[in-house]
């Protein structure tokens, strides 16, 4: 066998040969854009955005080409300028996009900063004015918000409880070395939060904590199975129990993954259900609970229905990777295999209807919106009847970033290069922003549509 150095050199050469460089020109443009932002200041940038000078604004904001050319879209009826712009308001480009900002009370809270100076900031969504900032550390994200508190945490803790109104620190909950928090759920006066040890090779068991929300004091801790990490989704709390799903820490670290039910008062495990998934994979969505059944997607591609009292598996579907939009009128509606929307009988799992939908190159989402299901993919948003699966409209607005959000008479969609408002009834595009690069799904709060862009800016739009 060749020695280690030779093997490393050969492997590095293989990787170097497969690398795809964006190129020095794009890099210089990106660097110039950052330099301009530093020099230009907030006032000038805001004026340009209000003036709606899309191309110039885009160059100032980004200073580089989009990573991929924009999809063919239906031309927006009207170009909407943002009412306000807040710079330095969102995490940098490489932060996980579902953790960039959150609506909390009448504020938008954003954990910002990739370096050691990371802060959690709160903004008034009506004006974009910063209400407060707290130095919560690098790569922090908002774990949960509610009950007058925002809980933020750097990548490996501690958990920091902040007063939502003032940003003042109320408490800290320290984590062990290498222990990283997942998203949390606030129910009543308790924060339920899972933590994992995500370093590669680590097999320490994940821990679920219940903390007193006001003081940060631990009420209980439940240690789960070695060799697993918790899913990203926040715990689902209801019926006196806490549901969390796990996955393998790495290949072969555990025989399979499970859905765990913990007593909400004591943390004692009531049951665990086998998810039949002996491989690693992470879902951002937790189980959906309705009428005594929990519907949970497994990495193996199964959709499982589990009795929430006993953990007994009631039915399963193995038709492709499921993304559950929700449960309505006795149907579990899910995007399956990325290319079809399926209505399952909630009790038996029988397929009542299925509708083909386009597959996209970016993320796909499916959400319930009243009696409709909104599905993204293939550069479009599709609205389908939740009872029959029949398509109502298709709006070719481009690949979505995050899930579509329905509010009032509109559906708001962040695409790869703009924010778009669609008429909820007809699917007609009502307005679109100038070119920006959204980093996450829009937030609808206090009569504003707030979107974070990948250059670290928050923009507030009128509905």
């Amino acid at each position: 066998m060749a020695d280690l150095r030779d093997q490393l050199a050969v492997q590095a050469e293989h990787a170097a040969g497969a690398a795809r460089a964006p190129g020095p020109a794009a890099t210089l443009r990106r660097a110039r854009g950052r330099r301009r932002r530093r020099l230009g200041g907030r006032v000038a940038l805001s004026l340009l955005l209000v003036a709606g000078l899309g191309g110039l604004t885009s160059r100032l904001l980004e200073g580089r080409e989009p990573a991929s050319p924009p999809q063919t879209t239906t031309p927006a009826q009207r170009q909407a300028a943002p009412l306000w712009t807040a710079e330095g308001a969102a995490s940098e480009l490489m932060a996980p996009r579902d953790r960039t900002q959150a609506a909390a009370g009448d504020l938008v809270v954003a954990a910002t900063g990739f370096g050691p100076e990371g802060r959690t900031r709160a903004y008034d969504p009506r004006s974009g004015r910063q209400r407060w900032a707290n130095r919560t550390g690098p790569n922090a994200f908002v774990v949960a918000a509610g009950g007058g508190l925002v809980v933020a945490a750097p990548q490996y803790g501690p958990l920091i409880g902040l007063d939502l109104a003032t940003g003042e620190e109320r408490w800290r909950f320290e984590l062990a070395e290498g222990q990283g928090p997942e998203s949390g759920t606030i129910a009543g006066d308790t924060l339920f939060i899972g933590t994992s040890f995500p370093s590669e090779g680590a097999v320490d068991p994940p821990i679920v904590n219940a903390l007193d929300l006001a003081s940060g004091r631990e009420r209980w801790r439940a240690v789960l199975d070695p060799g697993t990490d918790l899913q990203w989704a926040a715990p689902v709390v209801g019926g006196g129990q806490v549901l969390v799903a796990d996955t393998l820490s790495h290949e072969g670290s555990a025989p399979t993954s499970h859905l765990h039910a913990l007593d909400a008062d004591t943390g004692r495990r009531r049951w665990r259900a086998d998810l039949h998934a002996p491989e690693q994979g992470f879902f951002a969505e937790g189980p959906v609970v309705s009428e005594g059944l929990a519907y949970v997607a497994a990495t193996s591609g199964m959709l499982l229905a589990v009795d929430t009292r006993t953990g007994r598996e009631v039915w399963r579907d193995q038709g492709g990777f499921p993304l559950v939009a929700g449960v309505q009128d006795g149907l579990v509606i899910a995007l399956v295999g990325g290319d079809r929307l399926v209505g399952f009988d909630a009790v038996t799992g029988a397929r009542r209807w299925q509708t083909p939908v386009g597959r996209g190159e970016s993320e796909q989402w499916a959400v319930l919106d009243g009696d409709a299901v909104l599905v993204t993919g293939d550069g479009a948003v599709v609205a389908a009847d939740a009872a029959t699966g029949a398509a109502r409209w298709r709006a070719a607005v481009g690949d979505a970033v995050g899930q579509p959000v329905a509010a009032g008479e509109r559906v708001y969609v962040a695409t790869q290069d703009r924010l778009v408002a669609i008429d909820r009834a007809s699917g007609t595009t009502v307005w679109g922003s100038a070119r920006v690069r959204p980093a996450a799904a829009p937030l609808v709060t206090s009569g504003r549509i707030v979107v974070a862009t990948r250059d670290g800016t928050l923009l507030g739009f009128a509905p």
Partner: protein, 175 residues
């Protein structure tokens, strides 16, 4: 303009090589490219000063290595998406060919261990310089190297173990 020409030459010379090195740390080509591209963007901002450095590539590598520390959670997020769109996997960027057993063995190490392995065994940096690059004590580097070599030897076989032992003995001669 001369600065920009210099930077373009520099970029062309180092991008692929750095991605190759970072791949050994991240185990994922996209993460390696992201880290190197971000490090080069930061280098472009500082290029008038950086170009006078004896080895500006070392600065970029250090920044990229630092970024790679935060890569695991991003990788997990990406995996979430990939799981959702598994049928599209084949259409995505192909990973590089892998030396049999090597990447599996490297992935079993911590990111910190992989960094010392790459800097010391691939780039032949003495232990003291590895410590300086990573901002950790020399003893920490030695300890990580010892554990990494032990783990690699267990997976890759005795030839690696022998090589590792030679290295350990000779570590003091590098600096």
């Amino acid at each position: 303009m001369q600065d920009e020409h210099d930077f373009e030459d520099f970029y062309a010379a180092v991008f692929d090589r750095l991605v190759g090195q970072l791949f050994l740390v991240t185990g994922n080509l996209q993460d390696a490219e992201d880290a190197v591209q971000e490090a080069l963007t930061r280098a472009a901002l500082r290029w008038p000063r950086l170009r006078s450095y004896h080895v500006p590539e070392a600065w970029v590598r250090r920044v990229a290595m630092s970024l790679a520390s935060d890569g695991f959670r991003r990788f997990r997020r990406r995996l979430t998406v990939v799981v959702r769109l598994r049928a599209d996997l084949e259409a995505r960027q192909a990973g590089p060919a892998e030396v049999p057993g090597l990447m599996e063995a490297l992935r079993a190490l911590s990111v910190a261990q992989r960094k010392v392995v790459v800097l010391h065994h691939l780039l032949d940096l003495p232990v003291e310089q590895v410590a300086a690059e990573l901002g950790v004590p020399v003893g920490t580097v030695k300890s990580r190297l010892a554990r990494a070599r032990g783990a690699l030897a267990a997976r890759l076989g005795p030839a690696t173990r022998a090589e590792g032992l030679r290295d350990q003995e000779g570590a003091g001669n590098h600096g």
